[in-house]
Amino acid sequence: MEQSTNLSALGRRADARRRTLRAFTYLGLSLWAVLVLFPFYWMVLTSFKSYAAYNGEHIPVLYTLSPTLENYRQAFTAVPLGRYLLNTLIFALVTTALMVAVSTLAAYAFARLSFRGKDLVFGLFLSMMMIPSELVVITNFVTITDLDLRNSFPGLILPSITSVFYIYLLKENFEQVPDELYRAAKVDGTSDLKYLWKVLIPICRPTLVTITILKIIECWNSYVWPRLITDDQAYFLVSNGIQEIRENGFGRENIPAMMAAVVVISVPLILLFLAFRRKIMEGVSRGGMKG
């Protein structure tokens, strides 16, 4: 029996160790959560501090007692932030809509139609995923300049439309829809386009929604191409806008106003994320890469 009590003690000790480990786990996880959230907190906080109050803080203060909306007013009046937001919205929506249309058609051709050279073309498609955007951006810059499309929406949008990865994702999804549905539709005399519109798209809506959201996020955050192709503020997107604000906007010192602009830029995406959290995370974990 003595051995048995020893063993019970062993069990209790294992329990105690498990509890300590759990406490440390929560501690560590919370620490990282704070590190992630703090910049967001800081930007919101600073955006509510008045210019004078912020610059008067030799030692940064973690709260404010007299919040002000002045910075937000400034962000929209002193610099054309509203214009940037509108530009980005137009850019994101048009690019995404075109991307979805083009990708759906291409994916349908790969998934459902049979034509000569399909495997070869699809193989070439897949290999295009390897081409880094940094490499092609140079010629695209020259092309768009030659076409006289700098500082225009077509110039911004055209090279950003196609995504081989999303075509691939959609094709895989379309292929999961059983063949019988297609044959049944053919027997009923449904045209390919109608089958795509009435059957395939409704069935694959979850994936379409996912790639739409991912593309919108990508557009909202795109920086390199818009920077190259626009030097007229009237066509700036938010990323370039924020850089412009930082370098020339309020003057380098008006940090609270900059933070207000940052908040305005970040909030739409965060709301979008919170609304479609599950879809976005699922889509990203299927291989969506940033940039």
Binding site: S4, L7, S8, L10, G11, R12, A14
Partner: protein, 365 residues
Amino acid sequence: MEIRVEHLTKRFYDRGRRQTTTAVSDLTLTAPDGALMGLLGPSGCGKSTTLNMICGLEKPDEGRIFFGGEDVTDLPPEVRGVGMVFQNYALYPHLTVLQNILFPLENLKGAARPSREEMVRRARETAALVEIEALLDRRPRELSGGQQQRVAIARALVKRPRVLLLDEPLSNLDARLRLQTREEICRIQRETGITTLFVTHDQEEAMSISHRIAVMREGLLMQEGAPQQVYDDPACLFVARFLGTPPINVFSGEVRRGALLLDGRAVLEVPEAADGPVWAGIRPEGFLPRPDGPLRCALSRVEVLGRDVSMVCTHPACENGSLRAIVPSRREAEASGGAFALRPDKVFLFDREREIRIPFRAARA
């Protein structure tokens, strides 16, 4: 080593429905030393939870677990001395068969840890026991389902556990392999003499290899005993229905003045049974085809499947839809025209409300 559980209860909190469900309720059970015991029941009856509590992966809310005389309820799994074979075998895919079998031994610490040569010797010995010596350098994905099963058993046995637990050991195998593996488990258990508890939802499997079976339903133990005894003497309608292929035929009937009435006609003397509505269960082999028999059914067809001749009939009081009787020959079946006499030892009466057995004194037919 005898396994005994007393008043074992386990509740789970269901977050979706915000309530607790009782997976196992006040279960008391004994597997005698050296026995091969089957824990039988439909899916969701709590048998796997019971197994997990015995092996220590889950803690019971109430009740104790004893191995031999020793209370192991609060012990972590590794010191209980249990070997467990998982339903999908849980073989580590990146390790070879030998490495898989060695794995539990390599976990041992201090004085209990054998030398490397000793470990390999024991692993090979165990591999020989389950007859997989030739496969030691392969990886699990290169093995058939039956071979994987053997590796899993070897891994469970290599640390010489006090008890062996098997979770649905045959469910991932095809029908032919299942029969073969059944024999194999029997043989290994006999050779090692280790007390073995296995979980299954397949009554045929449990009946064919166990020394004892325990039938569970919705967390409750319905009946425990030797397989044939449980089959011949079911304690309730559930157990009677659960055991046997083809399944038992259930009729809604009535006992009046010592006779069983089906659809208003007396079909069997049931002395000492109280009057009232009952369920009558009749095993397929309890029907004796007699042209003048008291139970008159409408014969739909006669099926001959290998050795068995079965008569498929309909009867207004029969709950199964159609009843199925196993009879000695086709000639007899056709001659009877669907009329039967009944073997009293194959007829069970159950209370209509509580579905528990109502005994009667069986006279010889």
